[in-house]
Amino acid sequence: MSDTVLSTLAFTGVPPRIALVGNPNCGKTALFNALTGARQKVANYPGVTVERKIGEFLSPAGTRVQLVDLPGTYSLRARSPDEEVTRDVVLGRFQHEAPPDVMVCVADATNLRLHLRLVLELKKLGRPIILALNMMDVAEARGCRVDAAALSAALGVPVVPTVAIKRTGVVGLLDQIDRSMIAMTATLPPSPGTSSCGWSEPSALDLRAYHQEVETILAAALRDAGRPSLATRRIDAALLHPAIGLPFLFLVLFLMFQAVFAWAAVPMDMIDKGLGWIQAVAGAVLPDGLLKSLLTDGIIAGVGSVVIFLPQILVLFFFILMLESTGYMARAAFLLDRLMGGVGLHGRAFIPLLSSFACAVPGIMAARTIENRADRLATIMIAPLMTCSARLPVYTLIIAAFVPDRTVAGGMIGLQGLVMFTLYAAGILSALAAAFVLKRTIFKGAREPLLMELPSYRLPSPRDILLGLLERARIFLARAGTVIFSIMILLWFLGSFPAAPDGATGPAIDYSFAGMLGHALAPLLAPIGFTWQIAIALVPGMAAREVAVAALGTVYALSETGDALSGSLAGVLAADWSLPTALSLLAWFVFAPQCVSTLSVVKRETNSWFWMLVMIVYMTALAYGAAFVTFHLSSALLGG
């Protein structure tokens, strides 16, 4: 009989929807990935997931099920935009979607006292619920014993132990999902939108009552509370130590930037040689003409000049993944709360800001976890000042061209890495300064309280780190192969046509559309020392910042008059630009706002064109001002 029920379900065509709900950091996304085979971001700090994510899987009985992963929350009384998403989906208010058919409440088995409260609140909604007791492996290791049968009896909902990070850890949950769907179709025929009214905001009294009930349930079901993680306590005794904590945090960040140079040097060299070889072969094999120019100058010189930075991006991501998956991220927020408080920011703001080192887009999204709107806007406005990985190629290229590769401080510190660190530091300091000004002018108001769980440390699994890096590499190469590739073809076209008139003296690009554009923009950018080639590169750089590098590659490849093509881009730049010009461009890119995806996510997250425009104006002004000062100061100092 159950089979017929299930096949009717399957037959109706609308797959049943199951939502994962629970406190932050209890392993919802890990379960989501385990069930659907997706690769959504899993990390060891509260507030990783900030959007609703949808996937599908086939239950053991063969039903196609839609699974919804949600941001973690302590309560349906959403206090921040990410928690609002969870509330709205659960209550069936989200974009007029019906509420999920079944809720899988996920609770951390080692911390039931806290996590069961939300389960009780959800149970009140009167919809089918399954409780997944996750992290059973950790619970066992800590001697924490939960009687699942007694818990199920006391709660009145099915309870399944799970281990989201083991392949076999979700088998019980899958079986229970089938059983619950049968029960659901047998008892209440699917009636969409039954109850968004079963919930009203609990008062402090109600919350206390829930906690009392949890105590009663635990008295019946918790056989042994287990020991807290001693390792976490010992590590924190050192890493949160008043004298050691902050210096250690800065050391970690400093090492990160050193490593970006030191570890990536060899693979970058290999890619460079490989590209040089391909270019040479293509140059030798292809007949002279447009096709050869398109391939060598447009595609290999353009796309290649970006691909070469893959190793550096991976090193950067390696560090970020390690920080996120060990649990150090929440500690950093703790350590910085006082300092960030000095400029009016919340310690939590560190998490979106550090994510912005990878890319401002997820960084700005992560600001959803900040409750206070003014604080959140301030964080969004300064996030793009954190140097994102797309600016890494620009920095590296110019540093490689102008900063000698030698060590300082007795061979301990690479000079190039030091300059890189300085540029990142300039970004961070200006972000703090901007926050200081913003919080004292437009975004006035007291700071939101800090109430943040510090999760136990976890040893990251090498497999997860590796998969995370592969995913990054895939995204980076896909971008190079699509966006950058097409922009390069367009740029090559604009840089090659119209062709130079007969008897022209300069390189052909001078007479092309791109050349005209560059020369038109040049007067505007002359005060900050930019050449017309830079002006050309800045325009496509708006699509994605690393395209500026690719564009320089193509522009200079097209500007070469014939045989000098062999030199690397860095070498060409070193010969063509003055040092003040290079420094000025670096200063420009510390602030450069021109990235379409950042601006559109700002528009979406603030839900206003106004803040997007404010961002463009203030960051362009900062970039121009900083470049102007840098150019003239360094020209004067260098006697130029």
Binding site: L205, A209, P228, R338, E448
Partner: protein, 121 residues
């Protein structure tokens, strides 16, 4: 609209004026020494242990609407009867605090920790 509260809650309904749970909270001795009862979590130092006896956010300056801080704290496990211990202190000013609450660890600032009434031990 709100269904009746489940059993044990009725017994422990606090008086709204003080928002203090009457009687001994679970986990405390039946008769706590009077002088100890006056502490607030915000004045404890590293290593000290205590039991929460009540919440009172009236003296704490926050941008939140009245009663909101209390509710957030309850949701994060700071509730009458919770055993707390100051694990770590930040820098400078020994702020914020990392507080062990029963089975989890919470970071919060001293300013807000003043809303938590505790008794040492």
């Amino acid at each position: 609209m709100i269904p009746p509260l489940p059993g044990p809650a009725h017994a422990a309904t606090p008086s709204p004026a003080t928002r203090r749970a009457p009687g001994p909270a679970p986990g405390t001795s039946s008769d706590p020494p009077v002088g100890n009862d006056c502490c607030r979590l915000g004045v404890l130092r590293k290593g000290q242990r205590a039991v929460v006896t009540g919440l009172d956010d009236s003296a704490v300056a926050t941008p939140l609407p009245p009663g909101e801080l209390e509710r957030r704290m309850i949701e994060m496990g700071l509730i009458e009867g919770a055993r707390v211990e100051i694990l770590h202190e930040g820098f400078p000013g020994a702020d914020p605090l990392a507080v062990r609450i029963n089975d989890h660890t919470l970071a919060l600032r001293r300013a807000e920790a003043h809303a938590v009434l505790v008794t040492l031990g």
